[in-house]
């Protein structure tokens, strides 16, 4: 696949994931924990997870990592379906189907790269959606988002030069079945796309829309997808090199929030005029 088409196809998929999450958020409430809201302790918890995840992945047995991934995916699919169709038979069917798909994915170690990658990516989308929707619907605020985005950008910038650490980690994540990283077929095998980057691209428009309105949300979604295209374009030009997508996604997020804040302050000051 030529690099240009690869960028376009990934951008289209990411845009569909972002728009899909936004549609779902406007029509349905996911099954949230009975008590609990997203607060600053969760930001610290995420920071802990981001920092400890590579270490865990490095030292935990592959089977353990795969079992955790399966649990996460099944829980996410079930949660989404309970929100979309709360009746129990639907839930049971969906969970059964999901388990069957995962089982087949796991068993197809010798399957061709492309179908396996597509199945893995499709299973990951509910996981990304449910995390983003749960955070947005339990009260994630713009201030939380700014802290997370800045933290992740710094982490990406700091971690990427450590390619001798991150490279094997990404490869290991890509080889897990089911995978915990988006794998995209490319001219040079597969390109690996971090789940955190996609999660940020999905959650930013949701939180911005809830805080500033629909227009701000759409602008944020557009900026996130454009940032993705920019990052992927660099990656396409330099195959085999790890590109920290947060370097483009982080500023795009801050730009979207800045735009929304500026617009909101203008609207507010306008409304105060006699």
């Amino acid at each position: 696949m030529p690099p240009g088409w690869q960028v376009v196809s990934i951008a289209v998929v990411v845009a569909m994931v972002v728009v899909g999450a936004e549609k779902f958020d406007r029509t349905r409430d996911v099954v949230l924990p009975a008590i609990g809201v997203f607060d600053w302790s969760d930001v610290w918890f995420l920071a802990f997870v981001v920092l400890s995840f590579p270490v865990l992945q490095y030292f935990a047995p592959v089977r353990v990592a795969e079992a955790v991934t399966i649990l996460l995916i099944v829980a996410s699919v079930a949660d989404l379906m309970r929100a979309a169709a709360p009746s129990r038979p639907v839930l049971r069917r969906v969970v059964t189907t999901c388990v069957a798909v995962i089982a087949s994915t796991v068993s197809l170690h010798h399957f061709a790269v492309v179908p396996r990658a597509v199945i893995g990516d499709l299973l990951l989308i509910p996981l990304v959606w449910i995390a983003a929707l749960a955070w947005a619907q339990t009260g994630m605020r713009v201030s939380h988002l700014i802290a997370i985005v800045i933290g992740l950008t710094v982490f990406d910038l700091a971690a990427t030069p450590l390619s001798h650490v991150m490279g094997p980690l990404l490869r290991r994540l890509g080889e897990q079945q089911p995978q915990l990283i988006f794998t995209v077929p490319s001219a040079h095998g597969v390109a690996l796309l971090g789940i955190g980057d996609v999660l940020i691209a999905v959650v930013v428009p949701l939180v911005v829309r809830r805080s500033y309105g629909h227009l701000a949300g759409r602008v944020a979604a557009g900026l996130c997808v454009m940032a993705y295209i920019a990052g992927l374009s660099v990656a396409a030009l330099r195959p085999g090199v790890t590109i920290p997508l947060m370097v483009t996604l982080g500023p795009a997020t801050l730009l979207a929030i800045g735009f929304a804040e500026l617009r909101a302050s203008r609207l507010n000051s306008g409304s105060m005029q006699p």
Partner: protein
């Protein structure tokens, strides 16, 4: 969100293992519940179902009962003679309901505790508080509590109030219970404090004094805790005494005595349709097991805190569905540590109901609402007339001042009833007589007494009559000056 999820899991683990719930878990849960209530609202029918997301998973009745028996056997002199096989769920006898019959493992009565209170206190547990029962059904009994179980029950009370929406941080809570209700008063006050509400403990002054206090408060209370009989005093005073109903109330929490439909209806007229009446059930001996009333009239108890059984009146067996019996409660670990009671017979009449019930609290064990004390029931040939049956008739009648003053006794196969009314009249006699007939209570006689008359024998004592005396006179002049 992640922190409260971990706390919920830890809470469920503590309950399943019968271990103490760590304080950080309780703090985290109360904080999370408050933030959630502020963010998106939280409404549930059960604290345990809410926390663990599956009430059925807690229904490990047999296992938890056996563990409680084992604990009581090994720690108290009162229960040390129970065979060790009862302390293991695998060898625990099963009478068909999962638990042994009452002939195999008899109930504990108030008389048992009264005769040897020290034998029920667990060895090796440091007593943090000794609370006496109110004394409405016999001499006050001392019940010992340990520090952790008290703190846990206070925090869980706070959590329950947030979850059910009974008390919010914006509320001003006024507790008008007598000072003898020490445990309940402390629990309400501390729970409201954890929630962030404003609390006033007024004890139980005369009803007119309470209304004056409520009117004099800069910001009037929004939630009022009272006994039903005291509420009756307020209703009568406002209706007949010329005082105006306190403004600003949004909820009245009533419990500790029978709450009749007539009382609630008459109180609603006085306090307005916007005031919500919430009924509860609890007693010191079975603390912290508390009953909540559902819309279908059932009383539900959180399964994690206690096992509830209904003992048939005519034998040592469990009552069948619809059958009258007494409520038997076994408070469970980790909520009851210092004074473990196995199968405490409360003496309160209830009816066994079909489980699971078809109501909003279907996940929780249920009985009918309390029907009154067994000692105050009238046993007729082939039938038992419960105090509730009589009180429902009397308190619904507007001729009767609240709280109702009644006396009743069996005469042959009928009942003789004495009732105090505002004014003895033919209309009052006719209305009450017709109501008793409609309720199917066979009357031998119905004697009415005026409001200034004294009944020859009053069957039901009321907690609401325990008004606190007031200091009289001023301060003595300063002699030095």
């Amino acid at each position: 969100m992640f922190g409260s999820t971990v706390a919920q899991l830890r809470y469920a683990t503590a309950i399943a293992r019968g271990r103490a719930v760590p304080p950080w878990v309780l703090r985290s849960l109360v904080g999370a519940a408050l933030r959630t209530a502020e963010h998106r609202g939280v409404r549930a029918t059960s604290v345990d179902a809410l926390l663990t997301d599956d009430a059925a998973s807690l229904d490990l009745t047999r296992r938890r009962f056996a563990r409680q028996v084992h604990y009581a056997c090994s720690r108290t002199r009162a229960y040390c003679t129970i065979p060790s096989s009862y302390g293991d769920h695998r060898t625990l006898p099963d009478s068909g309901d999962g638990l042994p019959n009452f002939s195999e493992l008899p109930v504990t009565t108030k008389a048992d505790i009264s005769a040897r209170p020290g034998e029920f206190v667990a060895a090796g547990v440091a007593a943090a508080a000794v609370t006496f029962t109110t004394g409405s059904s016999g001499p006050p009994l001392p019940i010992v509590f340990e520090r952790t179980e008290l703190k846990t029950s206070f925090m869980l009370s706070a959590l329950g109030n947030v979850v059910f929406g009974h008390v919010t941080a914006q509320d001003r809570v006024l507790v008008a219970h007598g000072t003898r209700i020490g445990l309940s008063n402390s629990c309400v006050a501390l729970a409201a404090g954890y929630i962030g509400a404003q609390v006033t403990i007024a004890a139980q002054p005369s009803p007119s004094r309470l209304i004056e206090m409520m009117a004099a408060t800069p910001e009037p209370p929004t939630v009022l805790y009272v006994h039903p009989s005291y509420l009756g005093h307020l209703v009568t005073l406002i209706q007949r005494g010329g005082m105006s109903a306190p403004a600003g109330l949004r909820r009245i929490m009533i419990g500790g005595e029978l709450v009749t439909a007539g009382l609630v209806a008459r109180a609603r007229v006085v306090f307005g349709p916007d005031v919500d009446f919430v009924q509860g059930y609890g007693m010191t001996e079975t603390w912290p097991a508390a009953g909540s009333m559902c819309e279908a009239g059932h009383m539900h108890v959180e399964p994690a805190r206690a096992i509830v059984e209904v003992k048939a009146l005519d034998g040592a067996r469990h009552a069948g569905v619809g059958e009258l019996g007494t409520l038997v409660v076994t408070p469970l670990l980790p909520f009851r540590v210092a004074t473990p009671l196995i199968r405490y017979d409360t003496g309160d009449l209830v009816r066994a109901v079909q489980q699971p019930t078809a109501c909003s609290m279907a996940g929780l064990p249920a009985t009918s609402s309390p029907l009154g004390r067994l000692g105050a029931a009238v046993r007729l040939p082939g039938r038992v007339i419960t105090p509730r049956e009589i009180l429902e008739v009397v308190e619904a009648d507007p001729h009767v001042p609240l709280p109702s003053r009644i006396g009743y006794r069996r005469v042959g196969s009928r009942v003789a009833v004495d009732v105090q009314v505002f004014a003895v009249s033919v209309a009052a006699r006719h209305a009450l007589g017709a109501a008793f007939d409609a309720a199917g209570i066979p009357l031998e006689s119905l004697t009415l007494y005026g409001i200034d008359d004294t009944l020859p024998c009053s069957t039901y004592p009321w907690r609401g009559d325990l008004w606190e005396p007031e200091l009289r006179g001023g301060f003595a002049p300063d002699r030095a000056s």
